[in-house]
């Protein structure tokens, strides 16, 4: 008898999902609504051109060798290949003068692989978020 009542509830209680019809769906329809990014999100790199000394530590510590050094304004500055970067923040942690940081900017979409390599001038632009 207990078996039959058990079976009865197991067959009919799942229909309680009908109450989802009266609730707001949990989807956020992306370009029109989105959650704000949190503080401390690991997004695009930002370089402070005045502080950077060209000491090469960020290039050495990067696990995927995504940072290289290029000539710019007569000195060596880092250039980041966003395609290889895994956004681990080790470059920010090991930078001796705190020149390179990760910002909250997360929308880094491009159709062209070349434009994913950000040189020092692109890196020094303020992030959009």
């Amino acid at each position: 008898m207990a078996y039959l009542t058990d079976k009865f509830w197991r067959t009919f209680k799942p229909f309680l999902i009908l109450k989802n019809l009266f609730r707001k769906p949990m989807t956020l329809q992306f370009p029109y609504e989105s959650l704000p990014p949190v503080e401390g999100y690991r997004g695009r790199h930002v370089l402070d051109l005045d502080k950077c000394t060209g000491c090469f530590i960020c290039c050495m510590i990067c696990p995927n060798k995504a940072i290289g050094l290029v000539d710019f304004r007569g000195r060596k500055y880092p250039q980041v290949d966003l395609g290889k970067c895994c956004f681990c923040q080790l470059c920010e942690e090991y930078c001796s003068v705190k020149a390179i940081k990760l910002s909250k900017e997360a929308m880094m979409v491009t159709m062209d692989k070349e434009s994913a390599i950000l040189g020092p001038e692109a890196l020094s632009k303020t992030p959009t978020q």
Binding site: P14, I17, L21, T27
Partner: protein
Amino acid sequence: MSIFYLIVFPGFISLFLFSLLCEYIDRKVTARLQSRVGPPFYQPWADFIKLMSKESLVPTMADRKRFTAIPIFGVAAVVTAFIYIPLWSTESPFPFTGDIVVVIYLLSLPTLLLFLAGWHSTNVFGTIGATRGITQLFGYEVPFLLALLSPALVTGIWSLSGILNYQVEHTWFIAYLPLSFIVAIISLAGKLERIPFDIPHAAQEIAGGPFTEYSGARLALMHLMLDMELFAGSALIAALFLGGFDYIGVIAGLAGSVVGFILFLIKTFIVLFILICIKAAFARIRIDQVINMSLRWLAPMVVIQLLVIVGLKFAGVL
């Protein structure tokens, strides 16, 4: 005039539009039950046009003519079944005695065609899906037939127009045949291969079943056949149990027919809503459990219902 009935209304074009509307309601309500947003109203149209525009491949070892003929036969069978269902009055455009049996037979053709489609695909997934489809047919076909023919047993008239006449004069059959109604809906879910009975084309175990090798226009017609079967099956149950176009009160003339037709659509969507709730609440069950369940619960329920009816008729109540 009969050409108009065959092609425009209630024939091919209007069935096409209604079945796309049916698919939209199915997907939207299922999505809301799962707390998602669901597709916009033009999504089934967009899917159909996209599939028609893609290349349609036929496997090397398969017979090209049969491969192409199967979806076309399927759509033809379901359209032919639909024009015999009365939509706005007691008579369909081409009524005759025994048309209820013809409709039920034509609605079981798509399952046999899915079997042939899987077999002719010469693909191991297609073979397994095809055999599962036919095995499932053994389970639900007998309860489906008995449940749908029980109104005919009550009235003693074997035509849809006679059954609808009886419902207009007395009450709707759902009042005296509730068990048949439930069995008819569950068996319809089995026939249409919806969750919890979608074992034949279980995408997660055998990638696609009978549909694996179909692509492009042929796949578009297969999906169209399934959507049309959904609408035609729900319409048949609405006509047999919920009174079809019947409503309380009388409005004369053309306005009366239009109101009746709109109420018929609403009743079909009520049956569809019950099918959607069943789909959203359950998982897929194994093929041996499907047969087990049909022979253990569905068939006895409908037989008990028929015995009650026969008893009442014998006692002179009905």
